[in-house]
Amino acid sequence: MGCDMSGYDKKDDVIDVIVKDASEEIEPVDSWQALRVRIDQRIAGRDVSFAVRQGRESAIFWRRTALAMAACFVVAAAALVYTIGFVQGGREATVRNEGLFSDAQLGRLQETFSNVRELFGQQLPWIVVGAGAEAEIGIAPAIATADRGKVIIVRLAVSSEKVQGRPRYFDVVTFSDLAATCRLPVAEDGSAVNVFLKPILGNDGTITVETKVAVNGSSEARSTTTVVDDAFTSLVRLPVNGDWIKIEGIGQSLASI
C-alpha cells in the first residue's frame, strides 16, 4: 500500500490510493486461476458452484448442512411413508408396469417436496428418495436459475448387467432446469456412482433429462435424453468394478406446488 499518510486529510488522491489498494487485496478464496476455470465451467453448463465449494468453504458447508439436516427430518418421515407405499406398490407392479409411477406415489412425493420447499423458503431444493429408504436433499447454488413453476420427478432404475434382479429405484424431484447432484448406491458391495441430473420440462410437455454419471473419476457417461412416463428410457451405461451399470429413467411433471 505504501501511501504517505501525512497530509492525508487534505488530498483526495490519498483516499483514492487507499481505496485502490484495498481493491487489490481482494482475491477469491482459492485463486484467480481457479475462479477463471469455474467461469469456463459455468459457461460450459457444468454446475459446479456448490459441489466444488463444499470442500473448501466449510462455513457454507456447515450452514447448508444444518439446513439440510433440518429438512432431512421432514424428508425422512415422508420418505418412510413413501417407501412403504412404494414397496407395497412395487410388489403389485412386478407383474405389469414394473416401476412405473402410481398416483399414490406421485402424491406422496409431491407432498414431501412441498414440505421441503416450504422449509427452504426462497432457496431451490431438490430431493432424492430411494426405494430402500435412502433420502438425500440438496440446495442449488445461491443464484442458480430454475423454473420455480415447474416441478419434475424423474424415477431412475439402476440395474447391473452381471447381477440379475430387480433394478434399484430412485426418485429425483427437482425444479425444471435445476440440477440435482447425488450419490447413488448401485451394488450390494457398496459401489456407488455420482449422478448429475437436470430435467427440463419443455413447452410441449416433453421432459428432457441431462445426465452425467461418474465413478470415482475413473469412468464417466453422459447423455441428454427425452423420457416419458409410461416406459423406461435408457439414459447411460458405464462400467463399475468389472460390471456394467445401466441407468434408465421415466419422468413426469408434478402439479405446481
Binding site: 500500500m1 501511501c3 499518510m5 492525508y8 486529510d9 483526495d12 483516499i15 483514492d16 487507499i18 481505496v19 485502490k20 489498494d21 484495498a22 481493491s23 487489490e24 487485496e25 481482494i26 477469491p28 478464496v29 484467480w32 475462479l35 477463471r36 469455474r38 467461469i39 469456463d40 459455468r42 459457461i43 458452484s49 465449494r53 468453504e57 457454507i60 423458503g121 426462497q122 447454488p141 445461491a142 443464484i143
Partner: protein, 183 residues
C-alpha cells in the same frame, strides 16, 4: 483485436474471443461483487453467473463498444437481486455487514493505519464501503477501484453525471472522516 472486435467475434460463436473478454473483466466483476457484499462465495457465484448470462445474451448486444457497461449492469442486477434475497432472509445485518475476515475495527491493536498489513487496511476500507448507501458505494467501487470514468459509472448506476460527482465527493469525505480514526 479491440473490444468491439472481440464482441463481434463472440457473437459469431468464437469462444476464444469471449474468453479474452472474460480475461479482461472477471477480476473487476469479482471485486465489485465482493466489495458490494463482503462475501467471497457470493462474489464467486455472481461472477460466474454474470459471465454465463453475458455469454448467453451477447447476441443481443448491439454496440460492442458498450460491452463493459453492459457487463457491469448484468453484475449489478444480479447483486441487487441477491441482496434482496438476503434481506428477505434477514441475514443482511448478520452476514453481509460482517466481512469474511471478521469485522474490522479502527485500530484494535493500537497500531497506526499505515502499520497495519495490506489485508488489515483493506478490511477496514471494505467495512467502511459497506456502510455507505448503495449508490455511493457502487460509484466509489466503479470509479476509484475499477477506474471507470464518472460518466460511464453514472450510466451503470443509472444516475446523472452530476449526481455521480457529488456522491463520489461525499464518499471521499466520508472515508476521510472515518479512516481518520484509524490513523
Amino acid at each position: 483485436m479491440d473490444e468491439s472486435a472481440l464482441v463481434r467475434a463472440s457473437q459469431a460463436g468464437d469462444k476464444a474471443a469471449f474468453g479474452r473478454l472474460i480475461d479482461g473483466y472477471y477480476k473487476s466483476i469479482y471485486r465489485l461483487a465482493y466489495s458490494h457484499t463482503g462475501r467471497g462465495e457470493e462474489a464467486d457465484d455472481v461472477c460466474q453467473e454474470t459471465f454465463f448470462r453475458a455469454f448467453s445474451n451477447i447476441g443481443k448486444l448491439r454496440d460492442g463498444g458498450s460491452f463493459r457497461r453492459w457487463l457491469f449492469v448484468i453484475a449489478l442486477n444480479l447483486l441487487r437481486k441477491r441482496i434482496r434475497q438476503l434481506k428477505r432472509h434477514k441475514q443482511m445485518v448478520a452476514e453481509i455487514s460482517g466481512c469474511e475476515g471478521g469485522k474490522a475495527t479502527a485500530d484494535e491493536s493500537g497500531r497506526p493505519f499505515q502499520r497495519l498489513s495490506g489485508k488489515e487496511r483493506a478490511a477496514i476500507v471494505h467495512q467502511q464501503l459497506r456502510e455507505m448507501p448503495e449508490q455511493m458505494r457502487l460509484l466509489t467501487i466503479l470509479i476509484l477501484m475499477e477506474g471507470l470514468k464518472q460518466k460511464e459509472a453514472a450510466a451503470i448506476v443509472n444516475c446523472s453525471e452530476a449526481t455521480a460527482s457529488r456522491q463520489l465527493e461525499m464518499a471521499r469525505n466520508l472515508l476521510r472522516i472515518r479512516l481518520q480514526k484509524c490513523i
